[in-house]
Every structure is written in structure tokens, then in C-alpha cells.
Amino acid sequence: MKPTIIIADDHAITAKGMESTLIELGFSVLGNHQNGINALNDILLQKPDYVLLDVRMPGMSGLDIAEVIKQNSITCKVIIYTMFTELTFYERAKSLGVSGYLLKEFALEDLEKCIKSIENTGVWHHPMLEQKLKASKNVFSPELYAKLTTRERYVLEGIADSKSTKAIAEELFVSQRTVESHRRSIIQKLQLPKKKNALLMWALENKGFFGLMDD
């Protein structure tokens, strides 16, 4: 039995390209739509094994289609392919549990890799997006920073100024153990990874923000 697929993309040329590649890969293409609503109707009707969805389409976006598929518990593997590299779309796609996420630019090369990976592990997302997502999680969070006490902020500033625990302890007239416990509390509150020098690295990177936060 050949696996079945429905394509939805309002760009006829890229859609054609994808269709022929899919046929080469042994797929049976059940439909090729340029309008989101038509595509969704066809998907609900034919229940293919796979769907390949562009994000921006007239009628209905690919992500909205994926949402309906998820809500109706239709067992078909969703592959999103888009020219947008914005994380907003990727995050939504991830939350909808899509199996594949391709960037149009590389879609023809990546398609085979993506299908194989989905068959084996159930999922393939373009690595660039994963990287971007990871980087964005590392960004300074004012909400977490706000949880620090005045004391902890003082210690943090000391760390950012490359002061030793001893020096900070002397400045605050407390023992080094107290400063150590402040450090632990800071690491916990900022949800930093338990790696060596994680706090120092974080402090050096973000000390420019300290002065910009509200009192």
C-alpha cells in the first residue's frame, strides 16, 4: 500500500515541485489545493496518512487546519512547510504537535529526510528553528529577576563585577557561607542550569539589564 498525502499550498509552482518529489518518494497524492478551506474539507473526507500544509493560504491558514485536525483526533501526520522563520509560527505548530516542520527554502532537499525521520521517530523539525527556540529561552527574564531580594541583587552585582565570594561577604559584613547560600537561592530563582560557572556566565551576560529594571 502506498502512503497517501494531501498538499495545500497557494503557490502552484512549489506545490507542483513538492507533488512530483512526493510521487518519486512513493507517495500517492490524493489532492493538491490552493485554498485552506478546500484542503480541510478534502482532508476530513479522505483522511490521508500525511498532509503537507503551507502556513499562509487564502481561506484558512495551515496552522488553523492543523488545529482542526488535532481537535477532531484525525490520525494523520501533519507536515508544515513555510517560508516564515518566525518562532511565533513554529511555537504554535509545536503546541499542535505537528510531525514535520519544513522551511520552503530547503523543502525539496529536506522532504525525504523528514519523511524517513517521521516513519522512524515520529518527528522531524528543521534544526535551525530548534536552535532559534533554544536561544530565545536563554533571554533575560524580568519576571524571574523581580523575584530576587535586594540582598540577592547586591550579591548578583558583585558576581557580575567579578568579585570573589570573599570580597562580597566582606562588603556585606556577612560570612562567606551566607553569600554561598544567596548564590544558591539566585541560581534556583533564575532557573539556571546546574553547570559550573552558569551563574557567573549569566551575570556577565546580563549585567547590563540590572540598571534598567524598575526598583
Partner: protein, 660 residues
Amino acid sequence: MACISVIYAQECAKDSLMNIWQDDTQTTDNRIKAAFTLLKEHTYGIPEETIGLSKALLDLAEPLKDYQTLARIRNIMARGYYFQGKTEESFKQLQQSVDYSLKANDIESVMLGKLNLVSFFKFTYLSQDACYKLLYEVDSLASHSKNWSYAADAKYTTVLIANDYKDYALSLKKVGELELLLNRSELEIDDNNGRLYFSAASIYKSLGNYQKAIDFYTKAINAVPESKAELKVIVYIKRGEVKLIKGDTLNAVSDFKASTNILPEDYTNSKTLAEENYGNGLYLYYTKEYSAAFKAFDKALEINEMSNRTSSVTYSLLYMSRIALQNKAYGQAIELCTKGLDYIKVSNYIEHKLEFLKNSYLAYKALGNINQALSFYEQYKALDDEFFNEEKAKALAKQEAENAFALERQETNLKYEANLKEEQDKRKRMIVYGLIVLVFVGLVFLAYMNQRKRKAAQREQELQEQYTHQLLDDIEEERGRIAGDLHDSVNHSLMQLKEKVNKSMPLSSTEISDVIAKVRHISHNLSPAMFEQIGLIKSIEELCRSLMETSSLKISHQLDYLQPLSKKQELQVYRIIEEAMTNIIKHSKATHAFLKLKSDDAGFALSVKDNGKGMPPQKEGQNTFSFGLHSIKQRSKAIRGIVSFTSTANGTEVNLRITA
């Protein structure tokens, strides 16, 4: 630097003094005169130096029996001893100075000596009555010789002492006299009016009548001649301080600023230099330039400490401790407070003592040293209560005295009215002439104002046109840039690809990816991807991410968007953020930026802060500043928002507010 220049100047002065002594071709008289001039210039210098100079000069002048000069030298010497802490010696020298001045019939010097006696020793060697007597003598002498500023000084000092001894009846009587004096001084314009007004203002300040105090400080500023720069510095600082009490920080700041622009470059009087630094400190402090302010206060402190002026140092220390607290440098704050409390043992200035205790308490509290914090809090509380009770008692006594004085004053007024009537008749005639001149001047002035107004309107229109032109220019420029981008990058790359296809050369995928990225970049700049679909908040997040990818700026944001704006407003807000961020990246040299957005029932507020070098100061009428700012202003105007820019050397903040 200032201290060094003081020392240096004094070294030079000493050298010159030596030269004059050794110059035998000069008469002794001339030598003394020259040396005395030098000494007078360093009246406020380092006590040791002053005393040394005076002693040497006394040795030279004594045989000549020139009592006038001798008296003046002793007066200066007494000041030196006083600031050195040798009060007994100082008292002796001052008394001698007064005696000599009497012998020489030098009335001004007599008055100066007596005033110094009172202000130096009012709480030590002199009883209340002795002070009053001395001041009364000065007052009579001054009135006889029509030296109104001394008369005012005497009255002012009397008021201070009377207030201290809670003798409010006398204090109010002196104020009444002073008011009469001021009325007279308007008739007899004189170079010393500046001092007179200054004294009057100080009295009103001590009485709590701040508006009148400000009025007289202003009069004093206008009356002080350019040559007396030192007085001007002090008057500006004092007026600023009163404005602060009144809560008018904005104008106070401009007074403090003014106090720093008066002294000539090569000025050496350390007392006034300290004051100038103090004024500069206040200016910086109230413009929130805390670290610079700290430096300025430190300088003032250093100069004052060097000259041993213990009564002045607490002022600087107070602000320094405040700044240290603010900077969370608690150890430093404690150190400063301890020093301040030490000095206060001498000057016993309660209000300062209160704040030092409080700041110590706060610093220890912040450090978690509860025992010390409690101890200071208790001291503070006890003193505060005592002070409060005393102030209450004072206010009561004052009120009583005021009631009594009102009656007495009515009688006095009747007496004075008769005297004044004659003068008033004279004045009435003057007023008629004056009015004629005034009407004429007024007409000229009106014509002038009218012309100025027209010019201002014209200028406004010109500016508006300039902005419009700039806007149009910018649109053209933008179009040109897009065309350029399309032509240079995209078209060029496509041509290369076409060439390769024509020659059947292999095409690499990265070459095509490159073209795709270029097109995406251009189209994204024109209109943010799917702004409509993903909304303001997601678009802002994407913008920040993309800016962080393409620049080295780090951006953090806090977005509480509970009450959405209209779509039209959203797009303008997005553009404003984009503009602000572009400015930061292009001009500010900032490494970090923080974007805060809050929209709820209370309204919409946006703030974009950076830690860059701030905007360059803007000159009036100049519109060459970044078009970005103008565009932000225009955009916020279009959505009925209020935008403001705050810029210091530590960064810039753009604030946008839209009321609900």
C-alpha cells in the same frame, strides 16, 4: 584639582609676599599694602597659612602704628585661629582688632570685628545680652554711616540669636525694622544692596516665609555686581535650597546650575570654591546624575576639610550618604554618616544629625545588622521627638510674640507714617514723571513684543515646513533605498544566476538561498510579517529576536497586554518601538535594552530603556537631530499618545502613554 589650585595659588602668593619684602626699593608702606592685599585674598584659605601670613605681616606693620591695617590683619588672623579651633586666641585677636579699629576711627572694621565676635562666640564666650549689645552697636554705627548692608547684617544676626533663645518679640521687632530699611534702600541705591537683600532673604527663610525669601534672593542676585562673584554663587545656592523646600525642584535645579557658571577660571578662594562644588553637587544630584554629584560633593568636602571648616562639611556629607544609600553602597554610607555625626558634635546641627542617624539606621538595616540598626533607630527616634517637641514649642512662642508684635507695630506704624508722608509726597511727583516714561517705554516694548511674536510664529511655521520636508525626503530616501536594495542585491544576484543558467553552469542551492534571504529581508522591513495575523505582542517578540540576531544588542521585554489597543494604534506602537530600537542600535552604543509594555484599564504605557551613552544635548531650534525622534513624536501624536524622552549619560528612556 580645585584644592591643588588653591594650594598652588597660595604658594605663589607667599612667594610674591617674600618678593615684596625683599624689595628694598619699595617703601615699607607700599610693601605692607601689597602684602595685605594678598592676605585679604586668602582670608578663607587654609588656617595655618592664613595665620602664618598674618603673623609675618604683623611683625612688619607693628612698628608703624598703622592701627587701621593692624586691626584688619588681626581680624583675618582671628578667623584663621577660629577655624583652626584655637578659639581663645581667636577671641583675643578679634577684641584687639576692634580696639585698634576704634583708635584708627575705621568704622567698617569696627563693625566687621563686632559681627565676627558675635557670629564666632555667640554660644561660647558671649552671653545673650553681650551679643545683643554688640549687635546694637553695629546697627547704630551702620545706620549713622548709612552702611545699610551692615545694618541688615546686624539685624539678621540679632534675629538668629533671638530665635535661638526663643526671644521672638525681639526677632519680630528686628524684622519690622528691616522692612523699613528695605523701603529706604529702594530710594538709595548702593552697591551693597546685594548683601542687604541677602540678609533679608535669610531672615524670611528662617521665619518660614519662603516666598518672600525667594523674592529677596532674586533681588539680591540682581543687585550683586559682577565683581562680587562669590556672593552670587551663595545666593543662587540658597535660593535653590528654598525652592527645594517649596517643592519646586525644576527651578531649584536651574539655580544650582547657575551657581556653577559664575566664578572666573582662575578663582582661588577656597571657601567659595567649596561652595561652587557644593552647588554643582546639588545640581547633579537633583538631575539624578548621582555618581557625578557624589564626586562634586566629595570635592567640596575635601576643600572644606582642608581649610578646617567643620561647620560646612556636614552639608556635603549628608548628600554623599544619601547617594551611597541609593547606590546600595551601605558600608560607604555608614562610613560617611559616622564622619558626619563626628563633625556634628561641633556644629550641633540637629536636622543634619537626624538624617545621619536615619541613614545609618537604613544602611545597617539593609546590611542586616539588626543590633546596630535598632540602636541608630532609637537614637533617631529620640532626637526626632525632642526636635519635634521643641519645634512645636517654638511655633507656639512665635505665635504669641506675633500677636503681641502686631499691636506694637500698629503704634510704630503711626509714628513712621508721619515721617513717611513727606517722603511719599516727593515720591508721588517722581511717580507721575515715572509713569509718563513708563507708558512710553511700554509702548515701545509692546511693539517689540508684537514683532517678536510674529517672528516666533514664522519660525514655528518654518520648523513645521522643515519637518514636512524632512518627512517627504525620508519617504523618498526610503523608496530610493528599497529600489537600491532590489537593484543592487536581488537583481544583481539574479543576473548572475541567469548567466550561469545560460552557460549551463551548475547552480548551488546556497546561491539561491541567498537571494531568498535578501528578498525576505526587504519585504520584512516594508511590512512586518503577518502583523495582522499574529498581533502586536508576537510581532514585538519577533522584532526583538530578529534585532538580536542581526545586532549585538541584548533586548529583554515585559509585556502585559490586558487591554488591547485599536489595530491602527497597534501598528503605530510597533513602528515606534522599531524606531526606538533602531535609534538605540545606531546611536546609543548600548549593550542592553529593556522594553516594558503595560496596557490595562488605567491606560497604555510603553517604556524603552537602554544603557547607552544618552542622546546628545539638543539645541533650541535645531532640527538636525535624528529623524527617528521626530517620527516617534509624530506617530505618537497620531494615536493621541504622549511621548517623552529622558536622557542621561547612563542611557536613554523613551516613554509613551495613551490614556484610557
